[in-house]
Amino acid sequence: MTNGRSRLFLVSPPNPDPATFPAVFEAAAAAGDVASLLLRFTDTAEATLDLIASIMPSGYDHNVAIIVEGDAELAANSGADGVHIAASADAYSAARTLLGSDRVVGALSNGSRHAAMELGELGVDYIAFDQTTQLEVGSVPGGETVNPLTWWSQLFEVPCVGFDPVECADIAPTIAAGADFIRPPDAMWSSADRASETVRRYNTQIDATQ
């Protein structure tokens, strides 16, 4: 952890319900500090543009970056703040060319150290690691394992996301491991009350840690 206070990196359920999700997200964003919302879509129907449009005002009001999973063109067309791609230098350069330097291009590590470092050098805005399951990136010859967040944060200024959801009790060790961004579990989206309660509780815990 080198870049100040850790922040929340919210991740929507896949294909969020346009009827209910915007209000739940507004409750989350209004409840405390949130860095970003990653919107996950498994199909890019017309409805996704409407959903993004209905979420952007909350993001703007509360200074939460709205990031679209996997589809740089959807990000470009919808005016979202950025895209979250799989770790690949080619996909990164395509996304960067489409979105320009002002918008966010972040990547999810595929477990390859080489790919992560290449993206770090290319100028990726963040890199996310499945910190509890990605052993390859953290293991060294000889078998000793290293948390990928720790490995990364010692090498790069580029912030990193603990992409495996973190229970509130595990915030301190995750931050200690090097996470700049923390992802709460998806259960937070079950209602507006639950969403705002989660954001408050996680922020309190982050403050207590640092």
């Binding site: 740089a72 350069s93 395509a94 150290r113 010859p141």
Partner: protein, 313 residues
């Protein structure tokens, strides 16, 4: 899109270590993990030593890696027979990566005689285990890459399975099948969908075609600015058709700000790549000496950066 849409055979050069060795999940093996780490770090002596131990202990991934180390002469003296022996051992355990390697050896004949039937047999084995590159290569063989009569239905079937797994080359070629109505009913929207996915993965041929589709609104929402961004990406990746098109767009100020120096830069690069354009040659003559000098400087800077990227890959 006829200028660039075509089926292209893809051989081992494109494979990463991950694609080759991963696959079916064997019992955990610390030696294999260490060997993999060492391989990725290009420490082939260590990779060979650890893979050898794990292979002898029965780890199919390690057996495939060992075969690959013997085949390439990395960490050990090159030995095709040993390579084949280890691939066959891993293949016998059902390892798709080993099936794939054997298929390649039969295809190019480096194992002795080229044997297309056996290559197809091993590609099929790997493809049925969902090996995306094997599925892709099998599709291309059915497309007549070996000079036989094409079977477009089979080509479509295997391209679709590979594309569904996210393999960019397969996504692109599947999009081409839909554009041309081969093995499947012509459908420009489905074509744009698949070619767009391949473009997003950074495949420059796909970005070029997709850029034209977006620019014209062919199978996808028309958006000249976004289309131009895709063409710019393909141009940056060294595609001479895209470079020529960016030169024209910058010259005319269509979808981008008019910029004579950028127009000249892209035209000079496209011309070096063999893409002639008399109109743009005439345009070069109209530049001021300062503009021409700036363009030449940008050409040199682009070349330097492109060469550095090529060296890294």
């Amino acid at each position: 899109m006829q200028h660039s849409s075509r089926l292209k055979l893809l051989f081992a050069a494109l494979l990463t270590a991950v694609l080759v060795f991963c696959g079916t999940v064997p019992p955990a093996s610390a030696n294999y993990d260490g060997a993999f780490e060492a391989y990725v770090a290009r420490d082939y002596d260590t990779a060979f030593r650890l893979a050898h131990d794990a292979a002898n202990a029965g780890d199919a991934r390690a057996q495939t890696m060992l075969g690959s180390l013997y085949a390439q002469g990395r960490g050990v003296a090159r030995n095709k027979q040993e390579a084949i022996r280890w691939y066959e051992t891993a293949s016998g355990q059902g390892h798709a990566g080993a099936d794939f390697e054997l298929a390649l050896l039969y295809l190019d004949g480096s194992s002795g005689e080229a044997d297309l039937a056996r290559a197809i047999e091993f590609f099929t084995r790997a493809a049925e285990k969902n090996h995306a590159v094997a599925q892709f290569n099998l599709a291309l063989i059915y497309a007549g890459a070996d000079g036989r009569q094409p079977n477009w239905e089979k080509t479509h079937e295997w391209l679709a399975r590979s594309a569904e797994q996210g393999f960019a080359e397969a996504q692109y070629n599947l999009g081409v099948l839909y554009a041309q109505g081969k093995g499947v009913e012509e459908n420009q929207v489905t074509s744009a969908h698949w070619i767009g996915l391949a473009a997003q993965q950074g495949l420059s041929d796909a970005a070029l075609d997709y850029g034209f589709m977006v620019f014209r609104g062919q199978g996808v929402q028309k958006n000249e600015q976004l289309g131009a961004r895709w063409l710019l990406f393909a141009a940056e990746k060294g595609n001479v058709v895209a470079q020529n098109r960016m030169a024209r767009l910058y010259r005319a100020g269509v979808a981008v700000q008019t910029d004579p120096v950028e127009a000249a830069k892209w035209h000079i690069l496209a011309r070096e790549g063999g893409r002639v354009d008399d109109n743009l040659d005439e345009f070069l003559e109209t530049l001021t000496p300062e503009q021409r000098q700036s363009a030449d400087e940008r050409v040199n800077a682009w070349r330097t950066q492109f060469a550095a990227q090529a060296a890294e890959n």
